[in-house]
């Protein structure tokens, strides 16, 4: 009896979590689970234009909901991932992608940081190589120098 009640509560809890876990809640999903999964992966790549730093997968904004529906519609119509994304890019520009594409306008964005890191590493390397070179090489003392050292040490001992 107790076991049964516990099981029922657990089932209720799991069901509740499942509802809360998705921002979409009661949205109509695609009948084909594989297509729905693809649509949801695409949702994660699309920026919510209202909230700007959330994907439409995470956002509760009305426009995000509409765009989720548009992506589902494109997927259901047989679009590939790229075609579905291109559909939105044509309307909202590259900005709608959370991961900006590599093109002429984003070259600095993509290549700037690695370039600066590379330049810094090269400069640091040059610094160390140079500083090592400036350390005078060790040469054994000549016999004259040895005699001088012995002389000085001898003076010290006497003094």
């Amino acid at each position: 009896m107790i076991g049964l009640r516990r099981a029922a509560l657990a089932a209720l809890f799991v069901a509740g979590c499942a509802v809360l876990a998705s921002a979409q809640g009661l949205e109509p999903v695609l009948p084909d689970p594989a297509q729905e999964a693809r649509a949801q992966e695409l949702h994660k790549r699309i920026r919510c234009l209202v909230c700007q730093n959330q994907s439409i997968h995470e956002s509760n904004a009305e426009l995000a909901r509409d765009l989720r529906a548009v992506v589902r519609e494109r997927v259901a119509a047989g679009d590939t991932d790229d075609q579905a994304v291109a559909y939105l890019v044509a309307r909202y520009g590259d900005w709608v992608l959370l991961r900006p594409p590599l093109n002429g306008r984003t070259l600095l964005l993509w290549l700037g940081p690695p370039f600066i890191l590379g330049a810094a590493l090269i400069r640091t390397g040059v610094y160390f190589v140079r500083s090592r070179r400036t350390i005078p090489e060790f040469k054994p003392l000549s016999s004259e120098e040895k005699a001088r050292v012995a002389e000085l040490l001898g003076e010290e001992r006497q003094g």
Partner: protein
């Protein structure tokens, strides 16, 4: 001057200027992907009692303004009187009523005045998405050939009207001859 001293200072200056410029940009104003593109194909019924309806065919042959509005949009209310004033000059302004209920949209236009020669009721917001609308109000200037030439995001005030929108309209009116129909 030794380069070891000049180079870091110069680098710092470049970065500082770039960041200062970046701070002044408005991240809310996303550049439209549709500038220079033809208006999307659409055909909408009018807002009840404020017809005729609106389609992409109506956006050819003259320079037009398409204003995206909704009764639930507070900034739309702020800019509305300006459009009523502009409409009196004879410039064709068309209203795209975005995700609104027919009753609310009609009541809104009845109360505040109707500057629109045509209206289109986009109840599902799909035409809005085709126009790249992400927040109302938005305003488009469209040339003789139905090409989107300017997008203004947010409520238009008198300064924006006089310095951005109307100069664009006048330039297009002066510039373009209607292209032969394809």
């Amino acid at each position: 001057m030794r380069p070891a001293l000049v180079v870091p200072v110069a680098l710092f200056a470049v970065v500082a200027v770039a960041l200062a410029v970046g701070l002044g940009l408005k991240p809310r104003e996303i550049p439209s992907a549709l500038i220079g593109q033809p208006v999307p194909a659409f055909a909408l019924d009018p807002v009840e009692n404020f017809g005729p309806g609106l389609s992409n065919e109506d956006l050819r042959g003259q320079v037009t303004i398409v204003n995206v509005f909704a009764s639930w949009c507070v900034p739309c209310r702020a800019e509305h009187q300006l459009w009523v004033d502009v409409a009196k000059t004879g410039l064709p302004i068309f209203g795209l009523n975005y995700k609104d209920t027919p009753a609310n949209a009609s009541a809104w236009l009845a109360q505040l005045g109707n500057p629109y020669q045509r209206t289109g009721a986009d109840r599902q917001g799909r035409v809005g998405i085709d126009f790249g609308v992400y927040g109302v109000p938005e305003t488009f200037v469209i040339d003789h050939n139905g090409i989107i030439q300017l997008k203004f995001i947010g409520p238009v005030d008198r300064v924006a009207l006089e310095t951005q929108i109307l100069p664009k309209v006048r330039a297009l009116q002066a510039l373009v001859q209607p292209a032969p129909a394809r």
